[in-house]
Amino acid sequence: MELLVVLLIGILYSAGIFLMLRRSMVKLLLGLLLLGNGANLLIFLMGGLTKGKPPILGEEETSFADAYADPVPQALILTAIVISFALTAFAIILLKKVYATTGSDDLDSLNIQDLDI
């Protein structure tokens, strides 16, 4: 199971970076989304994958070992998802606006003012 998730994370990261290196703005956005999802899955994996264990210890439990699912990564992922949701919403509007003002989907067409000194 761990190996599968590791591979998935690897694919998400590499696909995200590949898409970010393209010149199209839409692909850039998709790349950022994939990277964010990869990061979320990474937190999930790093917290340890457990199945069917409660996040809170019962009173009769005396030791920590394998008796519970770590709730912290899930709280972290939830926070990160909400944040990336807001950022993505902003980025979509921004790119739409850029498309409206420049009339081009090509990121290389955004360097006009960088040529002046």
């Binding site: 970010m20 703005m25 850039l28 950022l32 990277l35 964010g36 990869g38 990061a39 990474l42 937190i43 994996l45 790093m46 917290g47 912290v72 990564p73 972290l76 926070t79 990160a80 944040i83 807001a86 950022l87 902003f90 980025a91 921004l94 790119l95 606006k97 850029v98 003002t101 420049t102 990121l107 955004l110 360097n111 006009i112 003012q113 960088d114 002046d116 000194i117």
Partner: protein, 505 residues
């Protein structure tokens, strides 16, 4: 001391921002509320600074969940210095914005977002939890996205895409690093991390995580080779917004680097050379970029990059005296950079351009204002009694003592280039004859009423006085940063205060 007071400045900015929402489109009311909010927060930040300097660490365990389980807020000496600087800049820029910004920008929520940005900065400086730091970073960057693109000019959009993309990428890398850190230690509290990281045997993994943090923060603080978003976006928004960005946002990255690399990862024989090489390249590329610029704003953008190199280099040397230099330079740099960016706004109001070849004669037309501007410019260069001089001595001395000769050469080169461009800027803008005859239509500044003129000039003058104070009263500043550097190099007191609530003086 355990106190809820730490949150006060953050809450004041939050409440101000929420209040401003109820005054949507009402420009005058927004200006008044913003200035009142900024002033209250300013006083609270001063109190926080003084209390922290006198009583030592201030701790707040949020929701009474004890560290390392809950989120901890810590005000140590470094945090309190950063909070004070933020308060000074936010008050100055807040007043400046009331006169410098177009009414439409204020109508569509400038002050609202401005206060959220400051709230995020204060939170980032005061938190003691690495994931909470990530969340505050996000608060700051989403506010900065809005500020940067508010207005929607083509130029702003072009800069905005680069800024947004690279900052989102930096956040993702930061989040990845936090995930790995949590995986190898099982904690997020910075004090607890400091202990747990030291106990990890697999040092390679620790080094990789440290590098991920460095890349994440490096993009935000604009170090070589991750700085390209800065010169292509910082000159696009109005000068008031650029003053906040140039003064505080890149320094937030530096703050995070100082915090993480003194408390959690101690620079070892792998990290230290990375810092020093990056610092040298940052200074050189920044210096090369600055030389051929004609627009003042672009020139300042590259100067920001160049001077980030000083700070990274100082952290790379990693001795207590070098850290004193870093902190002193940080204090000086935040004040001066914000000031100069506000000054470019005034110059643009007076002459309608910031292209140096088309400017001139300001020294003759505005002698008093020119004197105030001269103080800011020559502080940046570091002419001896002024504020930039003292930290540079530390950098030169420490890099020589530690035998980092290339770093020393880069420091000297960067200083000379700064001197050259500032001197060039001074002669072009203030001493040279004005290339075209000045008419009343061009000079928007002279036509302003007294209140607006005051709101533009007073913050600049005040910040110039702060620079003068730092320069002439260097001893008292030096004492504070020396104490701070000592705390940073010996984090055991910090850890004791957070985890065990032992507040040894």
């Amino acid at each position: 001391m355990i106190t809820n007071f730490i949150l006060a400045p953050i809450l004041v900015h939050m409440i101000t921002a929420i209040l401003l929402l109820f005054f949507w489109q009402k420009v005058q009311a927004q200006k008044v509320i913003s200035i009142i909010g900024n002033s209250i927060a300013f006083l609270l930040c001063i109190r926080l600074f003084i209390t922290t300097q006198h009583e030592g660490y201030l701790i707040l365990q949020a929701g009474n969940w004890q560290a390392p389980f809950g989120i901890t807020f810590v005000s140590d000496s470094l945090s309190s210095i950063m909070v004070l600087l933020t308060a000074i800049i936010s008050l100055a820029v807040g007043i400046y914005s009331t006169a410098a910004l177009h009414v439409n920008r204020i109508k569509y929520g400038y002050f609202f977002i401005f206060h959220f940005l400051i709230m995020g900065l204060l939170g980032a400086f005061l938190t003691g939890d690495i994931f909470n730091l990530y969340v505050w970073f996000e608060v700051v960057i989403i506010s900065s996205f809005v500020l940067l693109t508010l207005g929607g000019k083509k130029m702003q959009m072009e800069g905005g895409v680069k800024y947004v993309t690279l900052n989102m990428l930096a956040s993702t890398i930061f989040l990845t690093a936090v995930a790995i850190l949590y995986g190898i230690t099982g904690t997020l509290n910075m004090a607890d991390l400091s202990l747990k990281i030291a106990a990890i045997e697999h040092r390679g993994l620790v080094s990789v995580t440290a590098l991920l943090f460095f890349i994440g923060f490096g993009i935000k603080s604009a170090v070589f080779p991750l700085y390209f978003w800065l010169p292509s976006s910082y000159h696009t928004p109005p000068s008031a917004i650029a003053a906040i960005f140039g003064g505080l946002l890149t320094k937030m990255g530096i703050y995070a680097i100082i915090r993480v690399f003194t408390l959690i990862f101690k620079p070892d024989e792998f990290i230290q050379p990375v810092f020093i090489i990056i610092a040298i390249l940052t200074m050189i590329t920044g210096a090369l970029g600055v030389i051929n610029k004609r627009s003042i704003r672009r020139l300042i953008s590259y100067l920001i990059v160049c001077h980030i190199g000083y700070l990274i280099g100082g952290i790379g040397i990693y001795t207590e005296l070098a850290m004193v230099g870093v902190l002193f330079y940080l204090v000086h740099d935040v004040i001066v950079k914000s000031n100069i960016l506000m000054i470019t706004g005034i110059i643009q109001k007076i002459r309608e351009t910031i292209d140096m070849t088309r400017l001139g004669g300001l020294g003759k037309d505005y002698p008093k204002l020119s004197f105030v501007i001269a103080v800011a410019l020559f502080s940046l260069v570091g002419i001896p009694p002024l504020s930039g001089f003292w930290p540079k001595i530390q950098f030169f001395g420490e890099s020589l003592k530690a035998g980092h000769y290339f770093l020393l050469a880069a420091f000297i080169l960067a200083s000379f280039v700064t001197l050259y461009v500032i001197a060039k800027m001074w002669t072009e803008v203030f001493w040279k004859e004005s290339p075209k005859p000045l008419t009343e239509e061009i000079d928007h500044f002279a036509n302003l009423d007294f209140g607006k003129k005051f709101a533009l000039v007073a913050p600049v003058t005040a910040l110039s006085f702060v620079s003068l104070y730092i320069g002439f009263n260097a001893e008292s500043v030096y004492e504070i940063v020396q104490k701070t550097a000592h705390e940073l190099m010996n984090p055991s007191a910090y850890i004791d205060a957070v985890l065990n609530h032992k507040f040894a003086k």
